[in-house]
């Protein structure tokens, strides 16, 4: 097995294979990593309801197995739950993987002991928005839902009576539902920065819906997959060229959709920029949730954004936000967590992207894609003679 190899794999355990998405390979691989001692802990989402799950850090393989299945309505970034020094694995959407890498650059995560099992992602939905969407667009009671999946551009809900209800995602988003805004313009769908990238794109023929396409990206990726195979938890077969081409095609199509959304949502501000930012920020209640939840923020309590800011000195927009917009220009990955938790619904991710995109484009630097530090830091180090 080498870096760059692609396979299609599935769990050998029938229960995991049935409950897990696309053959349950990821669940089986994570559980095997614990069972064989490759890692001490796994960070996963423990399902509490159809639209609710809570991140847990567990060393119990059975608890990992119980998490099988995808949840598009639980938009949580798991990297915040990693602890330095613990040998740990996590299933990682691109934003999970990218923020883990950014945290590693800041000494918060030890990348050498963290196994990032990447998951393809076309976007997630906020549970509150999902419930509204079910009511308004699908005319369904959210409590009647027993499962959901995304297939061929449609969001499909299965009700308890076994019926499937599908609407095109484009149509949902036209009406203001569907994926969170930040997911709509996120162009990273396949987590190639993860140790191993998994998903259902490119699984064709008899294995469609029953297997997971796997791309090996690092030695750790080889280790975690081989560990699962050795444990008898997973079986694989080489991916064929047609499957690989289809996967690339899907990724390319998703990137085009993201580019269009980026143009739609992040078009230039009309009128006074000062008015725009004052209007957007004037309802801030100074809760600090956006900083607390940010998966790439590592400054802690003594951060510049809090030290320089006081509510007593603020008129409509606080120095807290202004410092953060600038400070996160190089590291914002657009995960949407700040918008999700803002108690007064300020579209914070949108604003962070307005600052971050031009800078990241200018320096041709995309955070969290690898362990390369931002270019200006690199220049400083070279000039210092290091």
């Amino acid at each position: 097995m080498d870096i760059g190899d692609c396979y299609v794999g599935w769990a050998t355990d029938e229960d995991i294979r049935t409950r897990g998405a696309s053959g349950g390979l990821v669940t089986a691989m994570l559980a095997a990593a614990l069972e064989k001692g490759l890692v001490e802990a796994v960070v996963v989402l423990k399902k509490l309801g159809e639209f609710e799950a809570v991140p847990i850090v567990t060393s119990d393989p059975e608890e990992v197995k119980a998490t099988a299945g995808s949840m598009h309505s639980v938009p949580i970034v798991l990297s915040r739950y990693l602890e330095y020094g613990t040998k740990v694995a996590l299933p990682a959407k691109p934003c999970d993987a990218r923020s883990t890498i950014e945290q590693s650059k800041r000494g918060q995560v030890d990348i050498d002991t963290t196994y990032i099992v990447g998951l393809n992602c076309g976007g997630t939905m906020h549970p509150a928005g999902t419930r509204d969407m079910l009511d308004v667009m699908y005319k369904l009671d959210p409590e009647d839902i027993k499962g959901e999946e995304i297939d061929k551009g449609k969001l499909i809900f299965e009700t308890k009576d076994g019926e499937e209800h599908a609407i095109k995602i484009d149509e949902l988003e036209e009406e203001g539902y569907g994926r969170r805004e930040s997911c709509q313009y996120c162009a990273v769908n396949i987590p190639r920065m993860a140790d191993i990238a998994c998903g259902n794109w490119g699984v064709i023929g008899d294995l469609a819906g029953k297997g997971t396409f796997v791309e090996i990206n690092t030695d750790k990726g080889i280790a975690i997959l081989e560990n699962a195979i050795d444990a008898g938890a997973v079986e694989i077969t080489p991916a064929d060229d047609k499957g690989k081409a289809i996967r690339e095609k899907v990724d390319g199509a998703m990137m085009k959709v993201a580019a269009a959304a980026d143009e739609k949502y992040l078009s230039p501000i009309e009128g006074s920029h000062l008015d725009y930012y004052m209007n957007a920020l004037s309802d801030c209640i100074n809760c600090g949730a956006c900083k607390t939840v940010c998966p790439v923020c590592a400054c802690g309590e003594g951060a510049k954004c809090t030290e320089f800011s006081s509510a007593s000195d603020t008129y409509k927009m606080s120095l807290f936000h202004l410092v953060r917009f600038v400070h996160l220009m190089d590291s914002c990955i657009g995960c949407g967590q700040c918008t999700d938790v803002c108690p007064v619904d300020i579209p914070l991710t949108h604003i962070y992207r307005r600052f971050a995109e031009p800078m990241q484009e200018e320096f041709e630097y995309k955070p969290g894609m690898d362990m390369t530090t931002p270019p200006f830091f690199g220049v400083d180090l070279i000039e210092e003679g290091h």
Binding site: V74, I76, K316, D340
Partner: protein, 485 residues
Amino acid sequence: MNENIFTTVCPGCSIACGMYVREKDDGTYDIDWRKDAVVNAGKLCRFGVRLSANLKAAVSKVDGNEVELSDAVTAAGNAIVDGAAFVSVGNTTCEEHLALMKLAESKGAVVNTGMGAFSSIPAECHSTMGVGVPLDAIESAKKIVLFIDPYEQYPLLVRRILASKKNGATVTAVGWKAVSLADDNKTIDPANYESELDLDNDSVIIAEINPSTDPERVMVLLNLAKASGAAIMFMKPFVNAVGCDLASKKTEQKSLDQIIAEINDGSIKTLVCLDSDLIEIMPDETAVREALGKLDNLIVITSRASAITDVAKIVVATEPLYKKAGTVVNAEGRALVGSGEGTDGIDVVGAMMGQPVGMYDEVHAALLATLGIEEVDERVVPEYEKPDYAAMDANPTAEAVETALVYAGGPFFWNGMVDDNDFVEMNLDMVTASSLLKGIPARIVSDKGEVAIKYKVSDVAPGVVLSNVKLPMTTGMVTSVTVSR
């Protein structure tokens, strides 16, 4: 490596925002956002975000010495005698409140929630005063009148009011300080509310009842709601104030001021407080401390270490709210349960009555009967009867002081905690007249003392020094002061 994660509600105010508490091996905890929570979609205000830094566990004590819980319970059982007074403002579950009611009843007493307005206003109004409207109804209102500052007092209302504006509502704020989301900020004589506000049955009035609220002011607002047909929602500062009020509805109750007065005149010698810190809640901390010092027995049953646990004769420490089995009813009237299974708080009260462990099922069943439901479903607000009531003669007390320090009273205030927002607000005229300079604290003096504190220029009513933190030189929610450099 496994964690204890609890689904619970924020104890900061009567919105009762859903959250997770992630407890670590060393007993400390972090909060996490519960995005599927029906009340708040996972969003939290400053108080909720910082909860783990704010709330510390209580320790059982007798006469200042740490003891085992069972020893504290025995001491409390012996000390609670006939004639004791009981207070539970609503900082714990309905089930614990009901358990305390049984204990109080066994001593010929009632449990006081401290909301004086309820005992001063006819009983047929209590349901309207207690249970508000579903938060969704705020979003669909055509007109909203605010008698609170949502940003400071009930921050999770802000997004609901902003949503209503997006839906075309107009918002009028009547209060000490201009509210930036309001289309119109007004100072109105209560006698003219009806004519100036022009409300109808698509309108929602949002106000507050707290232990210091003037009942006459509540009557004026009830009259306004009745005359206009508008819905009315009285927010409360305590997470389960509504639930405790519903549980206590048939009992005659005393205000906290009355209780302090009766301690001072010697008619109350033993006071039992269930998760209720009068030192934190009442504005004149010095006066409360002096009164509590006159008691023979101050018995505090609580999950949280606070000012009152330092002065109590007996502290019976129970599990934190997130670990408790039981129900909270928020300002909407929505019943909420967490994943906690602890019944220490009920069992200790049972033990004080000589009852065996296991009263939870009995009090929980009693609560469901009170709410008229068979089980708690957070997505369904129980139906409450709101009887018609007659218009009342009401004459709110005029705050006739030239310069007044006024408390806004947000979650940090009611929990007696220092907040980052440790400054007062006043308008530019007062800043100029007081010769204040940028960067130099304002000196605020009352009959009781003085304080130097940062200030901010805001659109505050003339003569008002607005504070979100409790200052030591105050005597009430409104204190006559002078301001100088």
